[in-house]
Symmetry: C2
Subunit: 300 residues, 2 copies
């Protein structure tokens, strides 16, 4: 088939397209568009475009821009970067439990660090929004000896998790776990999922990890919880806004780790996406359901 790759002809994706026997063409000649950028500059779509493959996993900015019409198939990259994001999530959680941030900021502060070091062995970890990332994260947590409680919209069992619950039962989860990893999309239902009320139900030793989207956390509430001993720490790859303001009080807390939205590094993004794009081309040509089809109304 004929596929446009815009706004730049990224080499790993060109290779993936050519590898399927397809052809990379200009947008006006294409049946499908691979768009590897944000919504700014998104083109007017010719009617011949039957499928748009977006390179982002989180598509709320496209939704907000009103780009997702119902005249063609839209796919995002949901799950395509899951292995890398899961690795970042466990790196953040372990860095928090092992007090690596404190160690970096405060040299050989053994008297403060030693009694605060915790372990994943025997800990209970909730993965909230357990889909592709949760599926990859679960075996990492299990290998470290943790118990995994997965929460997702449907409650459909997450392979390997000790327990999977539907989002409707999330309120019962907070008090049952030691730590929380957020992996949910940014939707009206997940907005400020972590707030004063839910933080109060966690434990003084709890860490909250966010590798999903910043707005899942009420950051003012998080700051209150982190400075009053309600929870032990937070490790965030995403914030609201991004980046946080230079004077955001979170920056000054020793129990906060903030990485600059690099769970799936932009520098390696298209190489990670390439095999999934190739699979979707194969499926499109075979008339099969595509991976990661977006439901425009739902925002994920």
């Amino acid at each position: 088939m004929k596929i446009a790759i815009e706004p730049v002809r990224d080499q790993p994706l060109v290779d993936a397209v050519v590898g399927t026997g397809s052809e990379v063409v200009a947008l006006d000649d294409a049946e499908a568009l691979v768009w590897i950028a944000g919504p700014d500059g998104f083109p007017e779509l010719p009617d011949a475009i039957k499928w748009v493959a977006l390179s982002y996993a989180g598509i709320e900015s496209y939704v907000a821009a009103g780009l997702l019409d119902d005249r063609r198939i839209w796919t995002n990259a949901s799950g395509f970067y899951a292995a890398g994001v899961a690795e970042h999530a466990i790196a953040l959680l372990l860095a928090g439990l092992r007090q690596i941030n404190t160690a970096v900021l405060d040299h050989w502060a053994k008297d403060r660090i030693d009694p605060a070091v915790r372990t994943l062995r025997g800990a209970r970890v909730a993965i909230v929004g357990a889909g592709g990332i949760g599926r990859q994260l679960t075996p990492l947590l299990k290998a470290c000896g943790a118990t995994v409680i997965a929460v997702n919209r449907s409650g459909r069992e997450l392979p390997g998790a000790d327990e999977t619950l539907p989002a409707s039962l999330l309120d019962d989860v907070w008090e049952r776990v030691d730590h929380v990893v957020l992996a949910a999309p940014d939707t009206p239902e997940t907005h400020h999922l972590i707030n004063d009320r839910t933080l109060a139900r966690l434990r003084p030793h709890s860490w909250v990890v966010n590798v999903a989207r910043g707005p899942l956390i009420d950051q003012a509430a998080l700051h209150r919880a982190l400075t009053s001993g309600v929870i032990a720490g937070a490790a965030l790859d995403v914030t609201d806004p991004e980046p946080p303001a230079a004077d955001d009080p979170l920056w000054s807390l020793p129990n906060v780790i903030i990485t600059p939205h690099v769970a799936n590094p932009t520098s390696g993004l298209t190489a990670e996406m390439a095999p999934f794009l190739a699979e979707n081309i194969r499926r499109f040509e075979a008339g099969q359901d595509l991976l990661a089809v977006v439901t425009p109304g739902a925002g994920y």
Copy 2:
């Protein structure tokens, strides 16, 4: 049997002793001594003491003090803290690969962090000195998608490792791996195992993790390698000396993570040791070989 616990009657160890049906007594009445401190203040041993259980895994300080005689059995804690140390090792390695130290020191430095983020997926990791810690670390590395090359004295296969080599072939390993985790005891053979020559055979993206003993690394050579791009970074839970001097140049490098010897936190040490002590009491009473018997001459 009658067991002394000195210099303090630590509660988790008292519970372990009592749980086996044994009795905690004064040193003069004991058949065995559990010693949960360094060599300073170590008592004169009555002849009736047939077994001394040391609570440390690394016993070079006892060896240096000339305490280990051949008139009784000596055990150390080799392997008892392995699970916790392995968790710290992967926490350090992931923190390095994921640039968490840079993120903590330099707020939202996305332009520098993003292209430097690496992954364990597909990486080859050498565990040098692969015994109890290596056995625990291997499944963690494998869960993250890494290939494990284990190196130990005998070359006896490490369960789960992709390959196990004897120390005599270590010279062939450096160029074949992406990252190195040191888990070997401190002996004349392992002194400055990481030096100018071996560092030069690693790669510009390599991280070196040390959860064993500081003297395994020539720190001056490490500093040279870290400042000249020979390797990417070092994550050290142990240093030489400990702590490093306040003006040690390693402190100022952004590609170094130093935690203050907390891979097995002192605060939780005896609770970790307790089940192994109980097992060794059972074995002693049954006339079986003990776990973690020290070879005084070898220093481990």
